[in-house]
Amino acid sequence: MIPAQQVSDWAARLLLTNPFPGKSQRELVQIIQACQLEVLSDGETILTEGEAGGDLYFLMEGEVTVLKRDTDGQDRELVVMSAPTMFGHMSLVDGSSRSASCHARGRVTVAKMTRALYQDLLAKPHPIGTTFRRLMLATLTRQLVDGNARLFTLIGGEIPTTQKQGKSPTKRPAKTSKPRSKASSSPPKSTAPNKASRTNTDDVSRSDLLEMAGILNGWKVDTSGLEDIEFVETEADRRRSGKSSS
């Protein structure tokens, strides 16, 4: 059992990286409370690439290693995800099989959302349903925009967005000069080299493609900069939250 305050803090941090119109921390906490909490030991498998997807996971505590099989049949480490984040959602959205495998890295706590709960939340126009639907949309939009931005960088085209993600819409981070990584805030053991200074004439490798597939499939969520930000709920947020819970 995770203490209520800890779930609330977790929800605030997730909303920081995945903001959306009418976001409500209270409803997100209720969503987590409707899920099934599971504690996993180091190395335990959570998802297996290629299997049918049945559940969505919120990573509450700990880290998860994401592996993807390359064309030679070798498992390649895409990223190490840190809480708070969600994963396994793509299979629920489009019925596809798992695009990567996930293993607990150390002790991990996840909140598991079943397909039945997922479908129930998406279908209904109630406060919790709206929060969940928009959280999903914010997450998917981010995957798409990040993936496209990476793609355009690789092929030397114009990057269609200048998004600075992981930054609070209500408060500027104290440090603005901190370099951003494309993976989690903890150093991932990604096999992909650093592409921060890529130019049009640089090469594109299969690692680049692997990395982008990871971004598109929601495995490489950028949470850099989180440690610099204190979540601040504005008056407008509070009004919306109060309105959405009435």
């Binding site: 999903m136 949309l137 798409l144 030397g156 085209g157 114009e158 967005t161």
Partner: protein
Amino acid sequence: MYLLSSDAQILSKLFLFRQVKPKDISELCRIARPVNFRPGDEVFTQGQPADCALLVVEGRLVASVGSGADKREVGDSRGGELVGETALFARAGKRSATVVAAETTRCLIIDHDVLVASPYNGALVAVENYLLGSIARRIRGTDRVIQRVWKESGVEDEKSDSKGATSLRERLSGFFGGGR
């Protein structure tokens, strides 16, 4: 019995809103501002800041990327379809394509205020569920192309020589139109 505005009448006949109550469609038409375009009007410009999406009520919009000789049409949108939807859920984004009215077109502006004003409106729920599917399809579509390029590349990963690597970039550019 609900008296629907002309916009609401048109929307109520669209597949997207087939299960939505008339009062919810009417509410959406009341809170979302309408906008009209003449043939040739530029609706969105590639690279410009994006802060709203357009729900096409009737007419047709055409999206293209690039300019001059490199200009390439990438799709069109008709009644019941949403244009510029990533602006709703992505911060400080920019338009990834230029959108022009191909014929006389009427749209409703869907922005942050509309989503906040009526979060449980059945018509918006229908739009959001439609978006979940369409964004997921776009993600999968891009992913499939990347996998295809990867499988066809025939080069070793980190050891790829410059010739093979350039080929990868060229293939990606061919699919997505890079170097503009």
